[in-house]
């Protein structure tokens, strides 16, 4: 049963799913997005019930297209939703600003999630700035329950004002799960006429005056949205202590807070009586700020602490309000260096900042570091954060006892990407280069795992599809050795094609490897344009990468199965020597499902294995880097074995073994049977001789 439609008034939902449930309730007709964490689960939750409720839900080819599709539906009068992680906001930005200025006829809600603390990798960014840039109304939930309520509010406000509304969540909210009260699914009452009137002054940017008018209209809509946010229950919350309690010493204290920091503040309120004397303004509508209410609030405090993750966006506006109103309020936050601009907040950090507010200890400070004052930042060590694509073995840095081992991401057992990068390393060696002499620019997604040991293949990661442009630039700079770019099929469709076209036109020599597993594997095996099925499982036209590449003008195009290792090595050698742009498409399905590639699973023949007795570098382990190849250091000599529960029999470890000690299990069983037979025959002979 789908998590969104389990009977009952209380559902156990994540922040992402809460957005999806609210959208379902209010009658969303079109929902689009691009997979990427955090934020994937909003669309994922809607897909299985799309047909049941007459919705169109799709994984679009990229976030810009997703926004445009959702906008088209909203221009035709429908309610639409588009969802993505923060990187996608950058991708759709060009269309976002244009659409924000045009407005919508129905309702358009944009759900984006900032990975504050970068638990999933990529850029730690404060996407609230896009709301300012595009004159977009912006809501920020502090919890999954608020994500649900704010989504309902966002649809209503978008429909009333014509402004697309941005809901910006963070990892700590979108990945939290809790039980919440939900409303009825009232889609039947949400029927609306579909139509689109030609209005060039609103929907084109052809005339400068129209553009100026649209800008003005966007600002008007923004102001209207701000008024409606102010009327919506629980969007902004205000707590002013009784007059006699409000003074702490000779100062009146206040806190302005937005996002998940409010939940930490709520917890602290339950732990300390000190909060009874502190005024609190919790902001749900971050753009526009409820200026009048905020100004009134600031007029009632002498010192105010601003709690917001990442950039001092609210803090700066608070300072402007104070200056405009001629108030004398001291502001504590990032600009004084008290709080960090990097990483996510925690209860401990908020507690420390509030303690400084109460104690009045904070003098005028100069920011020493974007990470904040040393006192706060180092007192609470990062727990299990680290880059998901790198090592995070130092997370218990305050512990003097043994540390956990560093863990970098590894390809799954039998992953075709491992075969390709392994072949690439061999091809580089055969061309007479060392591993460090040939640059391979990498790209987002599973394929970047090739940067980790022992493959050590990729050198860079910028953004979806950027690897080929970076590679071209390296060649322009004069690097004469081969330069390669590596990206997955999802990345190629998303934003890689333009870079390829550019490289072909430039005439540089470089090789693009497209590691094609026919899906977007990293985020949950969502379909892409090359999968041949849509998000709902229905079959659709399958894009052909080789045809696209040839259409771009690439003459050297090779498509092959990376499990054919010797052919893969030869092909990569050939491609690296080709004058011009060459493309190698390594095509094989993702092995996450654990389906055997070869019908003959393998195991280590311990008699033949020479580990620790002539085979010191154990290439089956150290060069392959497969989680199914197990190395035990408990015995007198290293002992290698294959975890048959996870091995999919790709055969790479067999190829790597110089002593032919890894064999199909069936052969080993036959060998053991032969040995038993030989011993039995020998025993019979011995008895005969003895008789």
């Amino acid at each position: 049963m789908n998590v969104l439609t389990i009977p009952g008034k209380r559902l156990f939902l994540s922040g992402d799913e809460a957005v999806a449930r609210a959208a379902l309730e209010v009658g969303v007709q079109v929902a689009t997005g691009y997979p990427g964490n955090p934020g994937t689960k909003a669309i994922t939750a809607l897909i299985p019930i799309a047909h049941q409720f007459g919705m169109t839900v799709e994984w679009s080819v990229n976030e810009k297209v997703a926004l445009e599709v959702a906008t088209g539906a909203a221009w035709a009068g429908q309610r639409s939703l588009v969802a993505m992680k923060m990187s996608g906001v950058n991708v759709m930005a060009d269309s976002l600003l244009s659409i924000a200025h045009s407005g919508v006829n129905g309702a358009l809600v944009i759900y984006a999630v900032d990975d504050v603390g970068t638990y999933f990798g990529m850029v730690e960014q404060d996407s609230r700035h896009y709301a300012l840039l595009a004159s977009l109304p912006l809501l920020m939930p502090a919890s999954p329950e608020e994500a649900y309520k704010m989504t309902r509010t966002a649809f209503a406000v978008s429909e009333q004002t014509g402004a697309p509304v941005l809901i910006l969540s963070t990892t700590a909210v979108s990945n939290s799960i809790t039980a919440m009260k939900v409303g009825r699914i009232e889609r039947d009452t949400q029927e609306r006429a579909v139509g689109f009137q030609r209005n060039l002054a609103k929907f084109t940017k052809a005339v400068p005056q129209w553009c100026r008018d649209q800008h003005a209209d966007a600002i008007t809509r923004l102001e209207q949205a701000g008024e409606l946010f102010g009327q919506a229950a629980e969007t902004n919350l205000l707590f002013i202590p009784d007059h006699h309690k409000h003074r702490k010493g000779n100062k009146r204290l206040g806190i302005v807070v937005a996002g998940v920091s409010y939940s930490y503040l709520q917890e602290l309120q339950g732990r300390s009586d000190d909060f009874a004397s502190i005024a609190i303004f919790k902001l749900g509508s971050v753009h526009p700020l409820p200026q009048e209410a905020l100004r009134d609030f600031l007029a009632q405090v002498d010192v105010v602490l601003v709690l917001e993750e990442l950039e001092p966006l609210i803090e700066t506006q608070v300072l402007a309000l104070i200056a405009e109103a001629g108030l004398h309020v001291r502001v504590l936050g990032k600009r004084t260096g008290l709080l960090p601009r990097v990483g996510d907040y925690s209860l401990e950090l908020v507690e420390e900042a509030v303690a400084k507010l109460i104690e009045g200890e904070v003098g005028q400070q100069t920011p020493t570091s974007p990470r904040g004052r040393e006192g706060i930042e180092t007192r609470y060590p990062t727990i299990n954060r680290g880059s998901t694509l790198g090592f995070h073995g130092h997370s218990t840095r305050d512990i003097k006892v043994v540390a956990p081992p560093a863990r970098s991401l590894e390809f799954c057992p039998g992953c075709p990407h491992r075969m390709t990068y392994y072949a690439l390393n061999r091809a580089i060696e055969r061309l007479g280069y060392t591993h460090d002499e040939v640059i391979t620019t990498g790209d987002a997604g599973c394929t970047i795992i090739g940067m980790n040991a022992p493959l050590d293949a990729c050198w860079t990661e910028v953004s979806m599809g950027a690897s080929i442009g970076i590679a071209q630039g390296l060649k322009y700079a004069g690097i004469e050795r081969p330069v390669l770019a590596a990206m997955g099929d999802g990345t190629f469709y998303h934003n890689g094609i333009a870079g390829l076209l550019n490289a072909v036109q430039s005439g540089v020599n470089l090789t693009l490897i497209v590691l094609d597993n026919s899906c977007i594997a990293m985020t949950g095996m969502q379909p892409d344009a090359g999968t041949g099925r849509r998000a709902d499982g229905e079959p659709t036209i399958r894009a052909d990468i080789a045809m696209i590449v040839r259409g771009c003008g690439v003459e050297c195009v090779r498509r092959l199965n990376p499990y054919d290792l010797s052919k893969m090595i030869e092909t990569l050698q050939e491609a690296m020597k080709f004058p011009g742009v060459s493309v190698v498409i390594a095509e094989a399905p993702c092995t996450t499902q654990g389906v055997l590639i070869n019908e003959r699973p393998v195991q280590v023949d311990q008699d033949a294995c020479m580990a620790g007795r002539g085979c010191e570098d154990t290439p089956c382990y150290h060069k392959v880097g497969c989680p199914s190849v197990l190395l035990s250091l408990d015995d007198v000599r290293p002992r290698l074995s294959i975890d048959t529960a996870t091995c999919v029999a790709c055969g790479l470890c067999m190829d790597a073994c110089p002593f032919d000690a890894i064999k199909p299990v069936a052969d080993l069983e036959q060998k053991q049977q032969d040995v038993r037979n030989t011993i039995a025959v020998a025993n019979v002979l011995r008895r005969n001789i003895e008789d």
């Binding site: 939290s176 809790t178 299990n384 043994v402 970098s408």
Partner: protein, 182 residues
């Protein structure tokens, strides 16, 4: 789900888990009223480690006096072999926990031969999460067994029979631990 069924407020936070790809994952579960799903540093009552060394990463989360259930399953990161990094021994892990005032309960990788249910039904040790859930709940009695069994059934209906058997084996082992430590 079981806590919700038992009438408790629950919040769960799983910021990221890429264990499938060799990374580490940590999930916070708060039972009882709380505004945030994130457990404050140094306030966790229970640590449940599905891999032996990973409990070290969670130590700062635990309060003095917490209990850690640590499965002795070891997943050596490739880097342990490639870069010659040290994988902690069991005694090092135990010392790290006890030095922080955390009671450490090691759980063997396989329950085969240790509890009757495991012997009778050929329990799949790969269901390490269900085993640990059973052990932890059998030991602490934090939540009613029927609520837990209902949640195990509803969470993955296709594997309900196998998961319930595994859960029962874990529960038995946890109960026995209670008696041996009391």
């Amino acid at each position: 789900m079981a806590a919700e069924e038992a009438g408790e407020e629950v919040r769960v936070l799983s910021r990221v888990s890429l264990a499938r790809l060799g990374g580490s994952g940590m999930c916070h579960i708060r039972i009882g009223p709380s505004a945030s799903a994130a457990i404050p540093v140094g306030e966790a009552d229970i640590l449940l480690a599905l891999e032996m060394s990973e409990v070290l990463r969670a130590i700062p989360m635990a309060r003095h006096g917490a209990v850690a259930f640590v499965n002795t399953y070891r997943r050596l990161p490739i880097a342990t072999g490639v870069a010659g990094l040290h994988y902690p021994t069991r005694s090092e892990v135990e010392e790290a926990l006890t030095s922080r005032g955390i009671t450490c309960i090691f759980v063997p990788e396989s329950l085969a031969g240790l509890v009757e249910d495991a012997i009778e039904h050929d329990i799949d040790d790969a269901r390490i999460n269900i085993i640990m859930l059973g052990i932890f709940c059998g030991y602490t009695r934090l939540l009613p067994r029927p609520s837990l069994e209902k949640a195990v059934t509803e969470r993955l209906p296709h594997f309900a029979v196998e998961n319930l058997r595994t859960f029962a084996a874990g529960w038995s082992y946890g109960e026995r631990l209670t008696h041996s430590t009391s």
